[in-house]
């Protein structure tokens, strides 16, 4: 398989009056074409910021790229000109978001929002811009393809008239408008009811399979990621701490933080085991801990952990971990 997306030593800082926060501190990861990758971590670990970096959506200022490369199909996304970036949005890389209620424009009809996206992508590609009518026909078929009944009525409605699950389907349909290669899903089920969550996850899995999409799924919920992704990257405070195939990670996590995450998930089959939390809380990125960013919360931390940042190293074939003490 060939790599579709390669992120190398990517550092992103957010500048503010209080100083510069190293929100992403040397991210390294690769997504193979046609594969599914999940990114898991606590809120604030930088996973959404990472996702937005792919489409140049982080507002700058305050965001500032400190170093690194994000190569997509061989081109560095971080140095793309705005027009070239616009040509990618929706057509090569598409994104779905967390809370469909706030990511749909409240005062525009679904038809207007979808038509504008379709026609905007046409314009950015430099070809002929479809007429509104043709764009609407495309929107109609997209809504049908994500399992929404009565697309014509849906197109005429406004976001507040739809249920949460319907809104998320509309956003997914919008993301498919440009027939993208890479689908980035940022917490797509977090704001939904559990039953609707399952439906939306099943829909995403189906689209990935049928359309041959490459998926980057971001969630704080290990269960969601495990259900949809073949590979998992665990992030902590702006760093990648472990990168492993899903099954291997769930059965035998190597990094103490990944071990903590898995121990924190309640097991429905074995309710007698109380899930354990990880002591402490996520550090301030304005003054992150020295060395390993996880060391203040880690029960295996030694003097070396506070002094030296552990490198992400291949400990087992296909498994990388950033910990001084990890053993196969």
């Amino acid at each position: 398989m060939t790599a579709l997306l390669e992120i190398e030593e990517y550092r992103l800082a957010f500048d503010s009056f209080d100083g510069s926060a190293a929100v992403l501190d040397g991210i390294d990861l690769t997504i193979e074409a046609g594969s599914t990758l999940g990114i898991v971590g606590e809120s604030g670990c930088g996973k959404s910021v990472l996702a937005r970096s792919l489409l140049g959506l982080n507002p700058s200022p305050p965001a500032r790229v400190a170093s690194g490369q994000i190569r997509f199909e061989g081109r560095d996304l971080l140095t793309l000109r705005p027009a070239a970036m616009r040509a990618l949005r929706g057509r090569r890389i598409a994104m779905i978001f967390q809370d469909p209620a706030s990511y749909l424009n409240p005062v525009l009809s679904i038809a207007t929002q979808m038509e504008d996206a379709i026609r905007g992508q046409d314009a950015a590609a430099g070809g002929a811009v479809r007429a509104r009518r043709a764009a609407r026909a495309h929107a109609h078929s997209l809504l049908g393809s994500v399992g929404l009944p009565d697309p014509a009525r849906l197109l005429a409605s406004y976001p507040h008239q739809l249920s949460g699950g319907m809104r998320q389907r509309v956003l997914i349909a919008m993301a498919l408008a440009g027939d993208p290669t890479l689908l980035v899903a940022d917490e797509p089920t977090t704001a939904l009811d559990v039953t609707v969550q399952a439906q939306v996850l099943a829909l995403i899995a189906e689209l990935v399979r049928d359309r041959g999409l490459t998926l980057m799924l971001i969630s704080h919920d290990l269960g969601v990621i495990a259900a949809a992704c073949a590979r998992i990257v665990v992030m902590y405070a702006g760093t990648v701490v472990e990168d492993a195939p899903t099954r291997a990670l769930l059965e035998h996590p190597l990094h103490p933080y990944a071990q903590g995450l898995i121990a924190a998930v309640p097991d429905l089959d074995r309710p007698e085991i109380t899930p354990r939390g990880i002591p402490g809380s996520i550090p301030s990125l304005l003054s992150p801990p020295s060395g390993c960013r996880f060391h203040p919360r880690c029960d295996r931390a030694t003097a070396r952990c506070a002094a030296e940042k552990p490198l992400l190293r291949e400990l087992l074939p296909g498994r990388r971990v950033a910990c001084h003490h990890a053993t196969p």
Binding site: P59, R86, Y103, L104, N105, P106, Q113, D116, G120, H160
Partner: protein, 339 residues
Amino acid sequence: MDRGLTLYLARRIGLAGLMLFGLICLTFVISNVAPSDPAALAAGPDAGRSQIEQARREYGLDKPLPEQFLRYVGDLAQGEFGRSIATGRSVGTDLLRYLPATLELCILAMLIGVLVGVPLGVLSAVLKDGPIDHVTRIFAVSGIAMPPFWFGLLLQLAFATGLGWLPTSGRLSVMTLPPDPITGLMLVDAVLRGQWDVFREGLSYIILPAIVLSFPCLASILRVNRGEMVETLRADYITAARAHGVTPWRMICVHALRNAMLPTLAIIGLRWGWMMSSTVLVETVFDWPGIGLYAVSSAIAGDFKPVMGVTLIVGLNFMIASLIVDLLYGVLDPRLREG
């Protein structure tokens, strides 16, 4: 029209009716506490005590207050505002004569305010903290801070007296015959009648007072619109629109502006109401023959029926403006259409 919208409208109109009643009570009270005796005024400066008493009976001013109030309301219902002592005409006739001039001035000022204020607000928000943003900020602060009569005098000094490009005051030169009225708005009438020379001359007279009147309005529209645009451009749905490939132009002018226009609209409505009342100062400085000048000259003469009439018109205008704003809210925001 769906049921929700009808209900929404009915509620708004009902509220407006209540406000109108309050306004009528207020003007009545003002006329009664004003430190002048309308009977003495009506009878004339040389009238004796018995003549004044006769005038008092004639105007019904000797009746108890509740009865006077009922009569006042009854007269208003028939479009009767009373008689102006200074002009000798009924106040209703005078208002019909002076109102179009004020309306023309206010409409032009509001057009300037919206057509300059909204785009500048959008531009300042998009180029936030850039040079344009700083310039418009200074511009807006001075617009709100500068007293209109002083700004008017300055403009007169510069463009009329100094450069001689524009006339100082009035609505048209005394040598020019105004076009036969169709709408009462002179510029519109001149266009409708094809009298382009009159139109150009009228424009040279109206432009300075219109700029003075529009300045504070433009300034607040600009600031509110900028603030709302800055907020809206940070919204999640704008991030999503960018991610989906909506063109920047369409994203700013439709996706963001449509949301930012809701609070801006409220300011436009308020400003339209204020404009009708602040036109008093501008009309006095520029000798503009509108209801403001009419109210001022009547008040100086102690003639209170016209002042009451103008107050009522200004208040009514305020109410109509907020009603229209509420309606436009419903058009812009689909969430309000369902009650």
